[in-house]
Structures are given as C-alpha cells and as structure tokens.
Amino acid sequence: MNSDAPSSFASALSPATDPEPSTAPALLAEIDQSCRAPVLALFGCGLVWLLAGTVLAELASLKMHWPDFLADTDWLTFGRVRPAHLNAMVFGFASECAIGIALWLMCRLCRTPLRFAWIILIAGVFWNLGVLVGIGGILAGDSTGIEWLEIPAYASPILFFSYALVGVWAVITFRFRREPRLYVSQWYILAALLWFPWLYSAAQILLILQPVRGTVQAAVNWWFAHNVLGLWFTPIGLAAIYYFIPKVIGRPIHSYYLSMLGFWSLALFYNWNGMHHLVGGPMPAWLVTVSIVASVMMTIPVVTVAINHHLTMVGHFHKMKFSPTLRFIVFGGMSYTVASLQGVYSALRSVSEVTHFTHHTIAHAHVGMYAFFTMVVFGCIYYIAPRLTQREWPSASLIHVHFWGTAGGILLYVGLLSFGGVLQGLAMNNPNIPFLQIVALTRPYLIIRTVAGIIIGTGHLAFVINFAWLLARQFEPYRGPVPLILAGTQPVK
C-alpha cells in the first residue's frame, strides 16, 4: 500500500481499496474536529433562516389582527408571507439544522470522522440557494398553491440535488462505520434519510410535474405534508433525544426493548395518518377512517417513547438546572408527547368537527414543529457547537433569556390559541352566529399570539448573538479554564 498516494474519492469508496483504512474507533475529539466546518455552516445558515422566519412569522401574525399593516405591496400580502414563513422555517431552519444534527450523530455513533466534508459544504450552498430562490418565488407570486410544497418548480430541483449529495455522503459514512452496532438514534436517522427523498420526489411528481386528477391531489398532498413532520422531523428529533438524555445525565436508556418497539410502531403507523387533515372533506369515508385509526394507534409509539424517556430521567430531573442541552431536550421530549396526544384526539371525528379549519390546528402544528422539534434542535446545538469550536458558550445569561423566552413564549402561544380555536370552532358550528362575530371573538387570541411571538423572537435573538459570539471566539486563543466538556479529550488550538 503506497502511503504517499493521495486519498482519491473513487478509491475511497470501498474499504478494500481505501488507502487509509482504519478500523479503530476514532477519538471523540477527532470526530468533532472533522465535523466542524460542515456542521457549523449548516447550523449558522439554519439560524439565519430562523431569524428570517421569525420576522415573517411576526409579520403574518400582525396582519391577522391588523390587516392594513404593510398591505399595499403584493409581495407582502398575508397569503404570501404566511407560506414564506412556513417554508423558511421548515426547509430553511429546521431541515438544515436537522441535517447538521444527523451528520454529527452519525459520525459519533459510527465512531468515524466526517470524511469528504466538501460534499456537505457544496450541498449546504445549494440547499440555501434553493430555499432562497424558493422563498423569493413565493413572495413574487409563484407559489404552487400546495401546502408544505409551495416552493416553485424552478427551485425544488436545487433542493433535490443538494439532498442527493447528503444522501450519498450518508451511505458512504454508513459503509465506513467503525462501530458495527447500530444505536437506536441511528435507526431513526437512517429511516429519516431514506423516507424524506421518497416523500419529496413523489409529491413533486404527482402534484406538480404530472398532477394527478382531482381530489387524489389532496390525498397525495396530506400524505406528503404530514409525513414531513412524522417521518423526517420526528425521527431526527427522537434520535437526538435518545442520544442526548443518556449522554448528558450519564445513564443509559431505561429499556432498549421499548426503544425498538417505539421505532417500529412509529414506522408502521405514522405514515398512515395523513388523511386526518381531510375529515369531513370530499374523500371516501374509508380513506379518512383508516387515517383516524392510524392516528389513534400512534398512542402506542408515543406512550412507549414517553415512558422510556421518563424512566431514564427519573431521579435526574434536577440536572436540568445545570445543563442547557438537557433543559431544551426534555422540554422538547415532553412536548412530543403532548403534540402527539393532541394529534390523536384531534383526529377523532367528533373533535375534528369542532377544531378543523380553526386556529387550534395552527396551535397544534406549532406544538409539534416548535415546542418539540425546534426546542430539541436548540438543545442539540448547545451540546454540539462547543465541542466543534472547542470553546465554551460565552454567556449564561443569554442562555437563560433564550430558554425562558422560547419556552414561555411557546406555552403562551399554543395554550391560548388552542383554546381560542376551540371557541372558534364551536361558534362556527352554530349557524345562528354570524361569521364576522366569530372573527371578532378570535381577535384577542390572535393579538396574544403576536405578543408571544415577540417573546419567542427575543429568545431567538439572544441565541443567535450567543452563537455568533461563540463562533467569533474560535479566532482567539483560548484563555479560559479547561471546560469540563473537554476534559479527557485533546484540545485543539
């Protein structure tokens, strides 16, 4: 074996021909160092989208009770700002951070350094480009009109190309793993990485490229949209929780059998839920019923996961006082349970009759995407970023502002808007109440949402400032005490 030969990409594709094969599991520090550029880049760009999405969110929320606000330009009309917000958050912030977290977890769990970082960096550039062009297109009026798939057809191939790069990278890394065992988080991540491109390409083909006829579109739309939450974000969020709770508190998951049960029951039931968005709609009854049944069956994986996480944490809840990551992750984990149980009861016909078409649905969406997934993402970044930069978070106060702002803000938002939505639905089912009266009754809840948005936005600002400061610290030699997190690893200047 010629050790002077440059390690070429092609020869590195197989362990047999790779000029630098290694089977010894890598040191944690080595893994973290290899992840630094791509994962920090993904987090950084994701946080820029978080800020953009937060501004768009506040705009949309304001316009709902102050319709005249900035209403004279077409690109700022509510009907464009709202999908721009959704796509900025889903594809800009959440997906980029999800990929960053998935990459780091894969490397850690495969015990292999991140190789071919350039693939990820190129993928990141294209992903950002795709989202930017997509959001611009939505604001310009080119939305496809399909919920969760609004990004115009000229931008989605960019996203697809970027994702293909990530997929190729994931397969190579998996092939080169130095740890033969697969931890539960890896099951979830592999599943998410396989499910997402299938969902996205099927939706693109059946709804935009070769649209199916009539209401079959609705079936495809909600199979896709619900599964983005259930088969892309949920598995990555759960993968993170399954890793970080035991890792932070220093205690293994309570029952590995329960984690296997939880994974397979989620895989089996979650993807059948989509039609619960169409209860009462022009769809065959069997189709909707199947989804309602699957939604109720979701209690199995959800309760399984909740029990497992809870029994792992029992006796260790006090540690949340001492760990930013644990606070956000546990908050997220509990919100997962709440979001899912809310989803179960909302799918029942008798409840859907009241809550469908109301703000209750929006509140529920934010319990899932924000209180669960976004808070988990924050927890992950708090753990991962110091290890990649080899620096401590600059400010504990900013962490407190971030946590209490986002946790308090989201609880205010979802609590009150869920309640307001139920009132709205009950009134809507009473034909004696004129529609404008219903609008008036929802107004206070919409205003409270705007207030909650300001509180949440403050939390975001605190976090982004802290993150930028942390990144800046890499350019100075480290003068502080050796942080606990680096004890036992090789600090790199």
Binding site: T77, D142, V184, W198, V216, A219, L268, G274, P284, E353
Partner: protein, 203 residues
C-alpha cells in the same frame, strides 16, 4: 437491530404500505373520474372554466387565498356548513376535476368559498370587497388588495369599470379606482365557484 439490510427492508416496507394505501389505491379508485352530463341542463359538470377564470384561479393561488378560505362543504349533520348557507349539498370528488391544484384549504379564518359565486353573484360587490373588505364587511380581518387596483386621475369621463367608492373609502376628487386585469380575473374565478348541481353521488 444491528443488521443494516433488515433495517432498510423494514424502513422501505412501512412507507411503501401507506404509499399503496393512501396514494395508489385512491388513484385507482377515483383518479379517473370524468365530468358527467347533467340530465336537466344537458351540460357537463363540472363545466369548463373561461380563460379569464383560469387566470383568476392563478391569482387566487399566487396570493395564498387558500390559507384563510376553504373550498369544501362538509356533509349535512357534520358541522353547520349547509345550515350556514355555504352550499346546498356536500362537496364531492367530482367537483374538483378541473382544478390544478386542488385548493381545498385547511383554515376558515374567512368563510368557505365553494359556492361564493352563488352567495355573492355580483361582480361590483366582489370588486369592492377585494379593494377593501371593510367596505362590505366591517370588522373583517381580510387584508385589502389595493395592489390589484389602480388609482388614477379621471380622464374626461369616469371609466365604466371605476369602483363606486363612497365616504372615507373614496379617493380624492378627480381620481378614480379601476380594477387591474388580475382583479377582474380573480372576480371572474370567484363568480365561477358554484357547486350546487345535484349529482348522482350526492343523492
């Protein structure tokens, strides 16, 4: 659970199952519906939209109207859609055969629009409402769509399309507000929204 191929197999099969059940089977069951000829009128239902109305549908889509307005009437006894006068019968799959995309909507921040062409069949009303919803519906939270209209100095005689605005909503003297082509198209689309034709499957 350390065996990659087994994991991959399970991951594939589980999503394949719902792809079959929620996408493939519906496509086979009602993906080839055709318009029907209504006995009484010998007209096709759903009717072809005019070119202007198709353009209006694009305006509806571009401006995200579906995020506040649904287009589906729920059955009698489930909610109060029919009692509110939002339709004479429930919506069925055939109603949406000519829609690309199908914009069923998931929010009723504003009323359902399946039959708005029946409920508010007047183009002047629709134009006034679009220009500033407060004119026809005080207290509405629908945004004004002034950018779909043009305010200009009256040249000679007022144009026939000028909106009849009064009071605080009227422009300064000597000015008039006329709808742009997109506004006219959108109104044409809204006026085309009618789904009251009784069909074999709605009896």
């Amino acid at each position: 659970m350390n065996y990659g191929p087994l994991l991959f197999f399970g991951i594939f099969l589980t999503l394949a199952s719902s792809w079959c059940g929620l996408v493939l089977i519906p496509q086979l069951q009602f993906g080839r519906l055709e318009p029907v000829t209504v006995e009484a009128t010998q007209q096709l239902y759903p009717p072809n939209r005019s070119g202007l109305a198709e353009r209006g549908m694009a305006v509806y889509r571009a401006n995200g109207c579906l995020y506040c307005h649904s287009q589906q009437v729920r059955p009698e006894g489930f909610g109060a859609d029919i009692q509110r006068g939002w339709g004479k019968r429930r919506s069925v799959a055939r109603d949406y055969l000519r829609d690309i995309p199908v914009m069923l909507g998931t929010m009723r921040t504003g009323p359902d629009l399946t039959n708005i062409g029946v409920r508010q069949a007047s183009a002047p009303w629709q134009l006034l409402h679009l220009y500033n919803p407060q004119i026809t519906s005080k207290g509405s939270i629908m945004p004004p769509f002034r950018f779909l209209f043009e305010k200009h100095r009256i040249r000679g005689r007022p144009s026939p399309e000028a909106l009849l605005l009064t009071g605080a909503f009227a422009p300064e003297p000597g000015y008039e507000v006329v709808p742009k082509p997109d506004a006219e198209a959108l109104v044409e689309y809204l006026l085309s929204l009618k789904a009251i034709t009784p069909l074999p499957e709605t009896k």
